[in-house]
Symmetry: C2
């Protein structure tokens, strides 16, 4: 993609493909624009097998044959503290969850802080304490860190990057491309609490009930599925872009079609009410403690039974199936018997949700 000559760094920008010359908020939203930015600008120059798998983490083989998963996430959530969590618990759970989605036992996390000049040190202390609690609960050590400070007005309080490494057990091969006809889609719980909780805290909205973020570590329920010997084909946590965007990404990578049933998808009444009021669709809301599992349909009931033993997955349920590929990647049978085509999030729904 480099032009010959010049300063050696000249670069033909794929502007026509991207459709805009400048970064928009929606490029970070987990939907179509982010997808295009990754596929057309960020990923091609850096292409390699691990990155090209487009999974929640990259998998690296060690000389011994053991496989490591590596993942990274920057957290820019606003506000920093919200019902059910804060940027610290999010930074630990979110990254551990990405490892879990690779079937990887967490070995270690890093913590990279970008602080804005003037940020209260007492708030920083609260955040680090929250990271400690989340890390101890898993348990996983934070083995290395970095601190940078930017001038007032060049940051926003604190941004946290946490990368994670984990060990992928023998025989485990979890990735979108393995999803195939005959798989069931199991959802671990109800949708949308994280998105609504953060939005309400940000905008000062209050509902009849307090909606708390679903932010939770998912390694324990995933480990239980693996220990039971179930043939997990793919796992995906439902963060930015929500259930809808995750299913579209997986269907496209796996070259299969997915059909889900609206009446089987748990959404709390207060979350549904908030969505109706605010014009959101729970299928696109971000979650920080929910995932989908793809596995042979015959194993779905056992998976649901196992998942329901864990707090963040008490409402686990089978919501759909994988069909032979047709012209629709993801479709949903609605409550009223119709068939709705599910697309990736288009535009930005809620910026800075994680």
């Amino acid at each position: 993609m480099a032009e010959p000559g010049g300063d050696g760094l000249a670069f033909t920008c794929p502007v026509p493909l991207i459709g805009t010359e400048r970064i928009l908020l929606a490029h970070g939203g987990g939907g179509q624009l982010m997808h295009r930015l990754i596929e057309q600008v960020l990923a091609p120059p850096l292409s390699n097998a691990a990155l090209d798998a487009r999974h929640d983490g990259g998998v690296i083989a060690l000389p011994s044959g053991a496989r490591l998963a590596m993942t990274t996430d920057s957290y820019v959530v606003r506000p920093l503290f919200f019902p059910g969590g804060d940027i610290g618990s999010l930074a630990v759970n979110g990254t551990v969850n990405d490892l879990a989605m690779c079937g990887a036992r967490p070995l270690g996390l890093s913590a990279g802080l970008i602080l804005e000049e003037g940020f209260p040190i007492a708030d920083l202390g609260r955040i680090v304490e929250s990271m400690r609690r989340a890390a101890q609960a898993i348990p996983v050590p934070v083995v290395t860190g970095d601190t940078k400070v930017v001038e007032r007005g060049k940051g926003d309080g604190v941004f946290i990057n946490s990368a994670g490494i984990g060990l992928v057990g023998e025989g485990i091969d979890i990735r979108p491309a393995r999803v195939c006809e005959g798989d069931a889609v199991v959802l671990s719980g109800d949708l949308g609490c994280h998105g609504i909780a953060v939005l309400a805290a940000r905008e000062g909205l209050s509902f009849e009930t307090t909606i708390e973020s679903d932010c939770a570590p998912l390694w324990a329920p995933v480990l239980a599925l693996l220990d039971a010997g179930l043939h997990i084909h793919c796992l995906r946590d439902l963060t930015r872009g929500g259930l809808a965007s995750a299913l579209v990404e997986i269907a496209e990578a796996g070259s299969a079609s997915i059909e889900i049933r609206e009446d089987l998808i748990p959404v709390r009444d207060d979350v549904r009410g908030a969505c109706e009021l605010l014009g959101f669709d729970p299928l696109y809301l971000a979650n920080e403690g929910r995932f989908v599992a793809f596995l042979p349909a015959g194993e779905a009931a056992r998976a649901v039974e196992i998942l329901r033993q864990f707090d963040p997955a008490r409402q686990a349920t089978r919501i759909g199936d994988v069909r032979p590929r047709d012209e629709t990647a993801v479709a949903m049978r609605t409550r009223y018997g119709g068939r709705r085509v599910i697309d990736m999030l288009s535009g930005e729904q809620l910026p800075r949700i994680c």
Copy 2:
């Protein structure tokens, strides 16, 4: 450090120890204030053996006995492009160098981007292309990534976090605590080019000659030292805080005293001139392709000979020795025969240098 009761996140902030209630730019400068922030606020709650080693990366033992090093750095350099490098090459080389300082062969990197709304996509393309080149030169794959976008005025163009993992070879044990009496201090090259190059680009200064950043990958020269069977006790790259802060940190962790000789430390005439003009001390300037090695004095000449075979280390030289611990952690014999006590950087010299 948590108070009993309350919301479960109450936190007694160690304000008296830190001496300020809010983050200052100097908390990111690599000197005394950053050291205090880490030792008193960030590290204690997260304490574990890997983190407590206070090395450039944390080392984790795998079940197989193999050891992994993990490191993280966020890059917030301003301007994004400067003579000799840019934020992309810095993000790759800086993180690979931290792995090298653990004696770890780089296995994979992550790339976490925090973009500001409105950032030109063509610039992003240039940066990713620069990351590609730097990664290919090592070579190391970027195995996973993340993209976040913040509103205009809540970031500064682009911040990049890159974490890295590497494999520590058998028998290698490189860390500050191993530095001991009888070690020589070998410096890999001249000081200060990165700091002056970035400052000049930021402030629009021009000198008679163009001073380019020393930004360079250091794994190849480190590997050559290891392959030669030299008994390396500690390695440290000389980034924020420069040579002086690195030596003080190592002396304190190793419980030894270090003496260096000013006349043996290479500094280019134009860098020295810029320092005199601007009131900087080359000992505290940031470098992105320079390191110190501690090893038994009898092996120093061989180390210098090996290092000089590599471009970024052509001026490698022995600059001092480790002595029995006395009241001064680090001292320098000046050109004029005096003895200067070397302290950690106090306050902020150049913010956002990496």
